[in-house]
Symmetry: C2
Subunit: 131 residues, 2 copies
């Protein structure tokens, strides 16, 4: 299906990667984004509609594998690492550098959830832009 | 932002409105869809990113206001009515008759959550197609 321009008239731009990763407002929106993208990808894999909530432990592990841990403070809970992954994923979508269909495709091609989300985060990290 | 064709290669088409409304697979995917769409609309209203989970009671009330109660069996829990709303909303998206940007726009223009979701469901009901 074709999606058209979605108006995102709120203040989402941040100055650098570290700012994105610790932003709780972005991670709050990112939570719903990741769950939707992952659910569409999962539906494609299973052959029928299915919704899911991506576990924090999987997001945290994907963040580490994507080489993003170094951009965060040394002491962080697994929950905060998962939040960071959600924040970056939705920032890449807002930044229009990783479209929804690309995110779904990145995930659906890989069976292992951690690897699939690592691929998504690596693409996001490589493409995001800052002012 | 521009969204491109999202591959939804799974079996989602149903024969009529009643079949859509009682479909638990559609409602499962619809849950993540509604939360994402509503979160983007909410972010636009608030001026900053924010994620939310739409309450079942709000979805159930919107379903009634949209005139969809009559398509369902007489005895249904509020939870099942909320599921029905989620199923129809995502079916309209899968059917490519209500784009993501249109869904966000429908919600963001109205302050009352029930009214906003009623508007979304009415649009979905009017536009969905069946084989």
């Amino acid at each position: 299906m074709k999606e058209h321009k979605i108006a995102c008239s709120f203040s989402w731009r941040r100055r650098n990667l570290s700012e994105v990763l610790v932003d709780s407002a972005l991670s709050s929106l990112g939570d719903s984004y990741i769950n939707f993208v992952y659910s569409v990808a999962l539906s494609n894999k299973k052959g029928e509609p299915e919704g899911t909530k991506v576990k924090g432990s999987i997001l945290a592990e994907a963040l580490r594998k994507a080489g993003l841990r170094e951009y965060l403070p040394s002491r962080m809970s697994r929950h905060s690492l998962a939040d960071a992954a959600e924040a970056l994923a939705v920032y890449a979508w807002l930044d229009d550098c990783l479209r929804l269909d690309e995110a779904v495709d990145a995930i659906r091609k890989i069976n292992d959830p951690v690897e699939a989300l690592t691929r998504l985060l690596v693409a996001a990290k490589e493409r995001v832009t800052f002012p």
